[in-house]
Symmetry: C2
Subunit: 181 residues, 2 copies
C-alpha cells in the first residue's frame, strides 16, 4: 500500500503521562506535500463480557472524567507493562467485579480511535464465574450491576451504556441469543 504511506519526517514529543503519551509527527504525504499527525500512545486495554450462571451480564458503573459523567461498561482496564492480554483480562475482571474465571474466550481485538490513537482493546467473554475478591485500583470507584440482555439493550438505547466495546459486546450477545429471545 505504498501509494497510501505517510513517511515521518520529524517526531515531537509533547507529553508523557501515566496513561497516555502525546506526540506530533510531521509527515510527507503520498503526493509529496507535508502535513502533521497528532498521535496519542496508549498501552492497550482489555475488556471482558462476563455472564453469570443465571445468564445475567455483569457491568460496572464508573465516573468518566473525560466525559464528565458516569456510564455503564463491561469490566475493562489498561494493559500493565509486559502483561499479556489474557492475564490482564482475568485480573481486571476480578479486581472490578470480584468474579474469578479460568475460562476466557477471545472474541476479537479492535483499535478504538485509529484517527488519533493507537489504543487496541482485546475483548474476551466468559460464562464461568466464581466468587473471588474485589480489589480496585486506589483511584477507581465503581458500582456493580447484573442485568439481563434485554435490560442491557435498553441501556444502550437510553445511552446509559454509551461506549464502543460495551455496545459491541451487547450486540454480540444478541447475535448469539438469536432473534427469538
Amino acid at each position: 500500500m505504498n501509494h497510501l504511506y505517510e513517511k515521518t519526517v520529524k517526531t515531537t514529543e509533547i507529553f508523557k503521562g501515566k496513561v497516555i503519551d502525546l506526540e506530533v509527527q510531521e509527515v510527507e504525504l503520498p503526493n509529496g506535500k507535508m502535513s502533521s499527525r497528532e498521535i496519542v500512545k496508549h498501552p492497550g486495554a482489555v475488556a471482558v463480557l462476563p455472564i453469570t450462571k443465571e445468564g445475567k451480564i455483569v457491568l460496572v458503573r464508573q465516573y468518566r472524567k473525560a466525559l464528565g459523567k458516569t456510564i455503564v461498561e463491561i469490566p475493562a482496564g489498561k494493559l500493565e507493562k509486559e502483561e499479556n492480554p489474557l492475564d490482564s483480562a482475568a485480573r481486571e475482571l476480578e479486581e472490578e467485579t470480584g468474579y474469578k474465571t479460568d475460562k476466557l474466550d477471545f472474541l476479537l481485538s479492535f483499535y478504538t480511535s485509529p484517527g488519533f490513537a493507537d489504543e487496541l482493546i482485546y475483548l474476551y467473554m466468559t460464562d464461568k464465574l466464581e466468587k473471588g475478591t474485589t480489589n480496585m485500583d486506589e483511584d477507581e470507584f465503581l458500582d456493580l450491576l447484573e442485568v439481563s440482555l434485554e435490560e442491557a439493550e435498553q441501556m444502550v438505547k437510553d445511552q446509559t451504556i454509551h461506549d464502543a466495546k460495551t455496545a459491541y459486546a451487547i450486540l454480540y450477545l444478541r447475535m448469539k441469543a438469536g432473534f427469538g429471545s
Copy 2:
C-alpha cells in the same frame, strides 16, 4: 451517582492541536484523595455503513499514522465546527466514496475511549446510494473497496478490518442478515 463523582480541582492545558487538545485535570476522588486524569478533547466523529444496490458494503483503506499501517474502515470523519452529525455523515460519505445519499438511518452513537478521550462517534447506515463526486481532504488518501458481508467478516477475522466502529457495523449487518445467509 455522587458517590462516584470526581471533582476537578485544577485543569492544566497541555496541547491544542488541529484535531485534538490535551489537558490534565487534578481531581478529588470520592474518598477525598487526589489523583490526576489525562483527557483528550476531540470534536466528535461520524461514520456511515453504506450498502450498494447490489448489497455490497463500501469500505475505505487508509494509512493510519497512529497505527503505522493501513486498515480498512467504513467511511468516517470528524465533525466540523457547528456541523450537525447527519450533515457531516452525508458530507464524509460523498467526499470519501463519491456516493451521495438522501437517506441516512441513525444506528447509535458511542464513545470510543471513555477512559481518556471524549470522542463520540455517530454511526449511520444507508442502502440508498447515488453517484456523486469524491472530494477528499487535501491530506487524505484512500482506496475504495466494495465487498460482500462474508468478505467483510473475513477481513474482521484477519484484522484487515480492525477498528471498533467498523467491527460494530459488520456485526450489525450480520444480525440484520440473520444466521442463514
